[in-house]
């Protein structure tokens, strides 16, 4: 499309150009940026219509909607950047209902002075992630705030999907006796981000695990349609996710520390930083709760998928009027795995 239609005298300067206030003004500069950056990268029939909204066909089933704003700092990190993260995060939120994600929207808040070259890298990474996930970005919005009022780029994405009748996945469905599974190693994303924070500069080979999980979820549902709960343990990590589900379902949980997969490098970095990997964010992992009878089959299905290779059963749901999450430590004692108090580290997603 770029070859045939060139209404602008000079193309956007993606080499040395910077975001300025005109890019959010609604005028020609904004239209040009949308054309030459966003439409070009996200390219699909709905965007090409150039309307302020997208009209979408919906397959049968119940609609699932999720939204997520991304403010991660730094914007680029080992294993990803804010662009692909903003696609994965929302695709995953939709997928955790057992839904098939269909469409995404994207809202950008850009800070005046941000290099257009970096913005293009982010947008292209976002486009690649959306294409790989098979979920088009069908409409969007761009605003520019004055220098000092933002931090480079913030991205909000909203995802729409459908969940077929018969799939009932919800955080309030865990029952005593159910098995608790995780899809892989915990804490990778959070540690990758922290390794870049200026005051925590230390060497690590850990990359963020950021990934879209709807393919894994589909494979899991094909094998066990009766999965009771799914959730991606992002901010606050596994500990927070399990406490949420315990409260929603009115149950307690018992974990086995030795069975929780954590990479040795992540464990070492956490040790050094005084963090607990159970509270560190993930962007490409999920927690599943299922009937104990389904556990073996579900684990098998997870391990057969590239994003669930290290899946493990980490504990079980128990009856507990206090809704405590407890853990048998590798050391042989017991302790609680409580809600996180305060922030472990800000702006990791």
């Amino acid at each position: 499309m770029t070859g045939t239609r060139r209404p602008y005298v000079r193309p956007v300067d993606f080499k040395a150009g910077l975001v300025d206030m005109s890019h959010g003004s609604g005028g020609r500069a904004m239209a040009q940026l949308i054309d030459e950056l966003f439409v070009e990268a996200f390219d699909n029939a709905w965007l090409r219509e150039m309307n302020d909204q997208a009209r979408l066909p919906m397959p049968p089933g119940r609609l699932v909607v999720a939204t997520d704003s991304h403010v991660v700092s730094p914007l680029f990190f080992p294993g990803g950047d804010i662009g692909c993260l903003s696609v994965h995060g929302t695709v995953n939120d939709v997928a955790m209902a057992g839904a098939r994600p269909l469409y995404l929207t994207a809202g950008f808040i850009l800070e005046e002075g941000y290099p257009l070259a970096d913005l293009r890298r982010i947008v292209r990474s976002m486009a690649a992630a959306a294409r790989e996930a098979g979920v088009p970005i069908v409409t969007g919005d761009t605003k520019v705030v004055e220098k000092g009022k933002g931090d480079g780029v913030f991205i909000n994405t909203t995802g729409i999907g459908v969940v077929p009748e018969g799939i009932e996945i919800s955080g309030d469905r865990a029952r005593p006796g159910d098995a608790i599974l995780v899809s892989g190693t915990l804490g990778d994303h959070g540690v990758a981000i922290m390794s870049l924070r200026e005051n925590l500069a230390f060497e690590t080979t850990i990359a963020s695990d950021t990934a879209a999980l709807h393919g894994l979820v589909a494979a899991m549902l094909a094998s066990v349609p009766g999965i009771r709960c799914l959730r991606d343990p992002t901010r606050g990590g596994l500990a927070t996710t399990l406490n949420e589900i315990a409260r929603q379902s009115g149950v307690g949980m018992r974990l086995e520390e030795d069975s929780i997969p954590v990479r040795a490098e992540v464990a070492a970095a956490c040790e050094f930083l005084g963090l607990d990997p159970l509270y560190v964010a993930n962007e490409g992992k999920l927690v599943a709760i299922c009937d104990p009878g389904d556990c073996g089959r579900l684990l098998e299905a997870m391990r057969a998928h590239p994003l669930g290779r290290d899946a493990a059963r980490v504990g079980e749901v128990v009856e507990d009027p206090h809704h405590f999450v407890q853990m048998r430590t590798g050391f042989g004692g017991s302790r609680m795995v409580d809600w996180l108090a305060g922030e472990q580290l800000p702006r990791i997603c």
């Binding site: 040795a264 490098e265 040790e271 405590f324 590798g330 302790r335 609680m336």
Partner: protein, 375 residues
Amino acid sequence: MKYVDEYRDGALARTIAARIAAAVRPGRTYHFMEFCGGHTHAISRYGVTDLLPPSVVMVHGPGCPVCVLPVGRIDMAIELALREKVVLCTYADTVRVPASGGLSLMKAKARGADVRMVYSAADALRIAREEPGREVVFFAIGFETTTPPTALVLREARAAGLSNFSVFCNHVLTPSAIAHILESPEVRELGTVVIDGFVGPAHVSTVIGAQPYEYFAEEYRKPVVIAGFEPLDVMLAVEMLVRQVNEGRAEVENEFTRAVTREGNARAKDLVAEVFELRRSFEWRGLGLVPYSALRLKTEWSAFDAERRFAMADRRVPDPKACECGAILRGVKKPVDCKVFGTACTPETPIGSCMVSSEGACAAHYTYGRYRSAA
């Protein structure tokens, strides 16, 4: 990581647990105070008490740097942080400690104070370099472990001729605090606190060595076993203490030989002596004024001493009424003895300092152990 895993090995833990169970004499109890918050945290986090026989009771001590900061010192820090041009650099835990008037450094930050969280004294020095137009103050807290790094950045600041950097010094000393507890009426006359021995500090002892504890062992007839911060270290120390008690010995033993010597680290001690001197007395939360228990900058360093540079007035403010932190820090009470534990006072809404740091007895019990007391 492997190095650390060895000290968390469950199979080894069970072996030691069996040895301790065999060693304890029927009909007697053993009360050991773990001085350090690092031990308190390890005990709760790994569930060490589950592996000890019921006759071994661990009593939490005052060795949590954030917990022992009295309200008055936090108030002083807030006042300083609210001054124009000042950037106050502090460890993350400290910002949540409740101060007077419902304030904390975090709330002061929301009101416009420039409070920055740092991971080390060196981070604060870097900020001073990067922002020459600001008055950068490092809120220095902690026991002997954190003192040498503070001394080091002061030396660097002086060598670099940095005129916008200073330290609000709250460094405190372990031996004086232990002596103070052993001298307290609860231990000496009332007998409300029984202490049969101490699990001695890990990191602190790497600096000061094992020798300073010899005095307590001898004078007060209390065994001390210096132990590392891993759960197996604690188990081994308990075993050594049980044996000392059984044999009527009161010696300083060192479980943490991989890091602690009798003399400690001479270079670190020299560095500290170059910059700091003893204060005549210093207020500790829970312990009150403790003579010669803290450090301040020597006169030659007064240009870097925030208290002198900003003519900060000393403040003494009583603890909140409901709070039992004082009694808890002296080993007199347990977290659950406090009426507001877990109700009005939680890690999200701390009333006392012991609920703030993960090394604090209340926070450790709330976070890791409250299922034990929830009937």
